[in-house]
Amino acid sequence: MDDYLELPSANAEPSKLDEIREDEDLSSEDEDEGPDWTKLPISVRPVIPKRGEKDFEPIVQGGSGYQQHVLNRARTAMLDALRMPRTISSKGISYGIWHPEIARVHVTTARGTHFTSMGHSVARAEGNSTQRALKRLELLPEEALYLVERGSLFCWKYVESSLLNAPGLDGMEGSPMTVQQTFAEMIGREDLTPEKYQVYAYLRRLGYVVTRTKPPTSAYPQAAPFKTRIHRLSLLERMYSSIRSLITSFVGLFSRSLNGWRPIRHIPWLHHNMDYPSIFKNLRFLHSGHSVPLHEKKKSDQPPSPYEIFFNVYKPATPFKKTTPPAPDFSMVVVNARTTPMPTLSELTDLFEILPELPPPVPRRRLAFVEQKEQRSTTAANSPSQPIPQLSFLGRLITWIYPRAASQIPEPPRKPNPFAVLKAGKKLVIVAVVDAGTTSFFGFRQGMFEEFPMA
């Protein structure tokens, strides 16, 4: 650490890289350990350094001045990074015009990949209404703000076109806007609160595609509805499964071995409903589960709940088509930590009512280390597709006649671990809580205890 004293410059030296690597081992648990700005290289190549170390507290009697020096160095590094201008090549920049009266940015020059997941086309009659409405690309306030902020879009503010015809204004499409002005004017329009913008930018920076859940206008593409998980069987499948179950129960009559865990035999035509789940179900006199409506009745004069799904979030890997967006991967509610209390039961119920049921988590198969290694090497070698082992005719016949044998050939589907399922819940809503610049994300999940009785 003493070499800092000899090198008081804030520039990142090549030797820093080794230092960063060393720090990886020391990366500590603390969340409040802020980023170490001295390790952010101010260069073209973006490298995200690890968090740095901190001291316990300042020495009261001044010490050697070392602490002050390190602090100044950290501050200088931070401020230098903050001073970096937003520069972009004239061949890569997009241009847009901010129309405050409709709260949209009309994109006049669209460049770059961002527009594959941002903006929507709107037919607007411009100027005099006699003209035919023309389609044009428009951005919502948050989309425009994000692009301006990351230095991809130059925004003009709309001014009367007669003003622009004056000589000396060639190449201008309005009055130029700074990032500050876009923040001041675009936030607060079209339901965009500062909190919502922060969440939007946060997710966007990580590569998620974020769209509005409720389309602000009819021109805004609405996401596809959630798929219902009820899988309809085809006629053939149903016939096959009924025949198969008949055979299974017939064979099962003879081949059943005594199971110490389940001493009661379930023989459908002797004792109706004689297995444990049905017995417990019959004993239950209070309804359980989320299908039962709440006792609490909603009052009609209540103000609208802040818990309303605002953003549809798609994972970066989701194939996203802007004009026909698929059903979202996550639904997100954004609340202000200072003004919004915890959601009430009825608010949560309302949220979950809209949301789809999620499939149970895929059970993880535990593999020995050697197996894992093998698997990795084989998948790397022949990743495309492995041929499915073909059964001989006899094998298939046996499978058909005696299904129990069949189930032993391919591995039986593993039963999900009830605790994993209970933890994952059936439905999920993400609540982003913003407190003056700090964003935290919480997942609220609807449990399904009635489906996994532990007894």
Binding site: P46, R75, A81, R86, S90, L134, R150, G168
Partner: protein, 329 residues
């Protein structure tokens, strides 16, 4: 961090949030007033991550209240302070822009004199010219489609005389030499670096906060741009914040640690916080034993002591109690 930087910082208020855009202002707040705020903007050169963020700096409402009460800062009604520019101001802005582009082109040309031109054959040059023409035609058609300019004015716009040009409103020229960056239309079509300005006072001559600054909370409240603190809880938070600040601590938001503030002994850039503070509105407010257990547990797990800060609104005093896991077997 020269101490001579001291000046009254203008906080840009919009949507009841106070932003700081100027990096020098951020430095002043941090070094002299122990106010850190939260950086929330995208850093343009590392834009795909959330660890390092840049301006704007958003201040906690308590920080704003303290800065205004101590007369370190004034509030500015930011949306209105962006005035509509006059034509002459826009013209100056545009000519500045062209000058900067021209300077960039000059710098590039002097660096590699005609290296490109030599490598390009006459044929390639011709092709490039054709490409540019079709592009220009397309742009014109698009501009026409938008309908905000008429044909004649558009021509004027694109080919209007800049100081050094020959002032010929050439229709798609056949004979024009491609190497002359004479007209501004040519200039704007060439390769250069665009800078998107961040802070308005530094880059927009028509930005003016005259008559839109508020040096007291009361006047800002009257103007409707700032309402914090508006109830007992908010007053209590401001009171506790001020008291801790006067004792030389740095504060950050404590929402991730289950409190109202994180309390640092020095600049959070270099030091860990020692306490998570919870504000209790009044000396008679009820406190559940469960809260003490939860706070004690959480504080210990994060190597901090939990600080209960009780605010007495009548006496304007704070009393502090810290909780730590006692650790008896």
């Amino acid at each position: 961090m020269a101490t001579s930087l001291t000046r009254v910082v203008e906080l840009r208020v919009s949507n009841h949030k106070a932003y700081v855009w100027d990096v020098d202002d951020i430095a002043i707040l941090r070094a002299e007033h122990h106010i850190c705020g939260v950086l929330t903007g995208t850093l343009p050169h590392v834009s795909q991550q959330n660890v390092f963020l840049g301006p704007p700096l958003i201040l906690l409402p308590e920080e704003v209240v303290l800065l205004v009460q101590k007369e370190f800062a004034v509030l500015v009604d930011d949306p209105i302070a962006h005035h509509t520019p006059s034509t002459s101001k826009l013209r100056r802005w545009n000519s500045d822009r062209l000058v900067s582009i021209r300077a960039q082109m000059g710098a590039v040309e002097s660096k590699e004199p005609n290296k490109k031109a030599e490598s390009l054959s006459e044929e390639a040059l011709r092709k490039r010219r054709e490409r540019e023409e079709t592009k220009a035609a397309a742009a014109r058609a698009k501009a026409l489609a938008e309908g905000n300019t008429e044909e004649s004015t558009l021509q004027d716009n694109l080919f209007s005389p800049s100081p050094s040009s020959s002032a010929t409103p050439v229709p798609p020229a056949v004979d024009e030499r491609p190497a002359t960056p004479a007209t501004s239309a040519n200039l704007l079509g060439s390769l250069y670096t665009v800078t998107i300005p961040a802070s308005s006072p530094a880059s927009l001559p028509w930005y003016s906060s005259d008559g839109l600054t508020y040096s007291t909370l009361e006047s800002a409240k009257e103007a409707g741009i700032w309402t914090y603190p508006s109830d007992l809880h908010e007053r209590a938070k401001c009171g506790v914040f001020r008291d801790l600040w006067e004792n030389g601590f740095y504060m950050g938001g404590g929402i991730r640690f289950g409190g109202d503030f994180l309390i640092y002994p020095g600049d959070p850039l270099r030091y860990h916080s020692h306490f998570v503070g919870t504000v209790i509105d009044s000396p008679t407010a009820a406190l559940m034993p469960m809260e003490i257990v939860a706070h004690g547990r959480l504080g210990t797990a994060t190597k901090k002591a939990h600080l209960l800060c009780g605010w007495d609104d009548e006496k304007q005093e704070v009393s502090y109690y810290s909780i730590e896991w006692a650790g008896f077997g």
